[in-house]
Symmetry: C2
Subunit: 340 residues, 2 copies
């Protein structure tokens, strides 16, 4: 491994000068700068990130913590974040909780993430008490994606509003017996989204003066499989709903499959709406409320870079960014079946 010393010896200058030259700092004669750059390139010198980290106190690492990399939403957030981070010389440390609360403690409790990275990106997670107090003490830059918390910058959509928009669409079509497939209790990692969407559902039903029998309020865990299960249960009810709103497209696709299984027409017998605009939703012709997931990731990364002082020129992002969503009407919603 060629070190800075070799380069210095090669050009007959000090390490200090080489260091300055290579980082583009002022105070190096043009002639020497060129010689240094040439020598560094020729010798294949690349500064050791570890040594730089120790000397400067910055690792140029951002820790991204997600509940599940394999879920489309989180994969896409990461994809978006990584794009902008890399552009500014930051690498992405991935912490995949994979649904285990224990993993979360290990990652955030022992500071596996926080000790090593310059900043923290939490996606789909509500910071725990331990995490917020840690951050208060150390002032590590952090950002939340898809969650809000007092004092933490965040990039989100309005989850309650999303549900209201979806519900309004169904209500406008004339539906009254609307069921909900959410994911409130199922998630051990605290997650604010399900609660907000659920509130949106209940509020809308309430304002429309429609009753919500308990069996119309179903739990899921945001996976297709859980949607399938919920769909089966709901559609086999003596009085099944005429419309089902799901807190995610993956669950909605599961419900669609349940309907198909039971030979029910969509939207003839039952309408289905989701949230996300998953890459697959277009293909199953699912009506949904689109959220700009990749952009969420990009903005979160931008937030972080700003806190890290890496974006001197750019206008500061507000600490809470809330992105617009959009109702995408496709083929799975329609008027309720005529009464009989």
């Amino acid at each position: 491994m060629t070190g800075i010393k070799e380069v210095a010896d090669e050009v007959g200058l000090s390490q200090a000068t080489v260091s300055r030259a290579l980082r583009g700092q002022r105070g190096v004669s043009e002639r020497n700068r060129e010689r240094i750059e040439e020598a560094a390139a020729r010798l294949g010198y690349v500064a050791s990130r570890t040594a730089v980290g120790l000397a400067t106190g910055r690792t140029h690492l951002v820790a991204a913590v997600v509940p599940h990399v394999t879920r489309w939403y989180f994969g896409t957030v990461i994809h978006g974040a990584e794009q902008v981070l890399r552009k500014h010389g930051y690498d992405l440390l991935l912490f995949n909780l994979a649904g285990s609360a224990e993993a979360r403690d290990r990652v955030l409790g022992t500071h596996a993430a926080t000790k090593r990275a310059d900043a923290l990106l939490l996606a789909g997670l509500q910071p725990s008490d331990a995490e917020r107090s840690w951050r208060d003490r150390h002032g590590t830059p952090a950002v939340l994606v898809g969650a809000v918390a007092e004092g933490w910058p965040s990039v989100t959509i309005d989850d309650e509003h999303v549900a209201v928009v979806a519900m309004q669409h169904l209500i406008d079509l004339g539906h009254q017996r609307i069921a909900y497939v959410g994911g409130e209790q199922a998630n051990t990692l605290e997650f604010s989204t399900p609660g907000a969407r659920h509130r949106g559902f209940l509020g809308s039903m309430d304002r429309a003066e429609h009753k919500v029998p308990p069996e119309y309020d179903h739990d899921g865990d945001f996976t297709l499989a859980s949607g399938l299960e919920a769909g089966r249960a709901l559609l086999r009810l003596p009085t099944p709903p005429t419309a089902i709103m799901c807190a995610s497209d993956e669950m909605a696709i599961g419900v669609l499959r349940a309907a198909r299984e039971l030979h029910l027409a969509v939207p003839g017998d039952v309408s289905v709406i989701g949230v996300d605009d998953h890459e697959l939703s277009e293909h199953v012709d699912l009506t949904t409320v689109r959220q700009p997931v990749e952009e969420l990731g990009r903005l979160a990364a931008t937030q972080l870079l700003q806190q890290l002082g890496e974006l001197p020129g750019s206008p500061p992002l507000p600490s809470h960014v809330r992105l617009e969503t959009e109702l995408v009407v496709r083929g799975t919603t329609g008027p309720p079946p005529p009464l009989h």
Copy 2:
């Protein structure tokens, strides 16, 4: 940030002793070890990874390079790898090429990954000349997932065999006019899988003495959208195939959608088979050849840990691990339609 010095002062011992005690090394009196551990816990001391890295030369970081995090296959590989790495104290640095060859040069060419990590996990990528020579010089532990290369440990399936198995299934059902949706040229990042599967397809057709008209040999990029497009083209042919084999489930699902669009019955008019056993495949009842993707990731991580000397007890993994695949017959394949 409490450092080792604070802990040492606290217990009135030297940093050396504290360091030894905390890493469980022998040569520290039991009494002092306990006092040190207590003090460290009380002070909330966690060693700086950066400093440890500089002193030991090991970062405890593994760089995982993938073409696309958002693709199910790669997300799952990462998920599997991360699980075992974390268990052994390694963190995962994610490099998402996002389909850009330029990103690849930046990541691997400038050693963004290699300089910073102890080991390299390349998924779905064939090492370039520059990469192999770099590795030859520096001896960085590395492993390939879903690709093979002279001198590189790898964890794979037999991609050619996978295609042969899929084809045999179709041929056994009586199909003769079989088309292929692959992804050979489309991928700028060199990728060995498409080639192998394509060879399997051609070889099977050849052995069965079935002709492959050029228009039956279609390109895709492993996405659903490309499958849809390929499906439309193939099924609109004057003499359409009676079966279509796709190099991935995502493309197969696209083909299924094309069939639905054109009001063709599956498998009545056309049979479709994929490769992967994507999490969705069960739900669309797709016949496919399953590969154990998560296990691929886990084994790759194990390979790496072994090279890193972190698995002293365990029997060494062979340098090329090839996992079994399995034909999963579901509802999208059947006998060809009767001739007319």
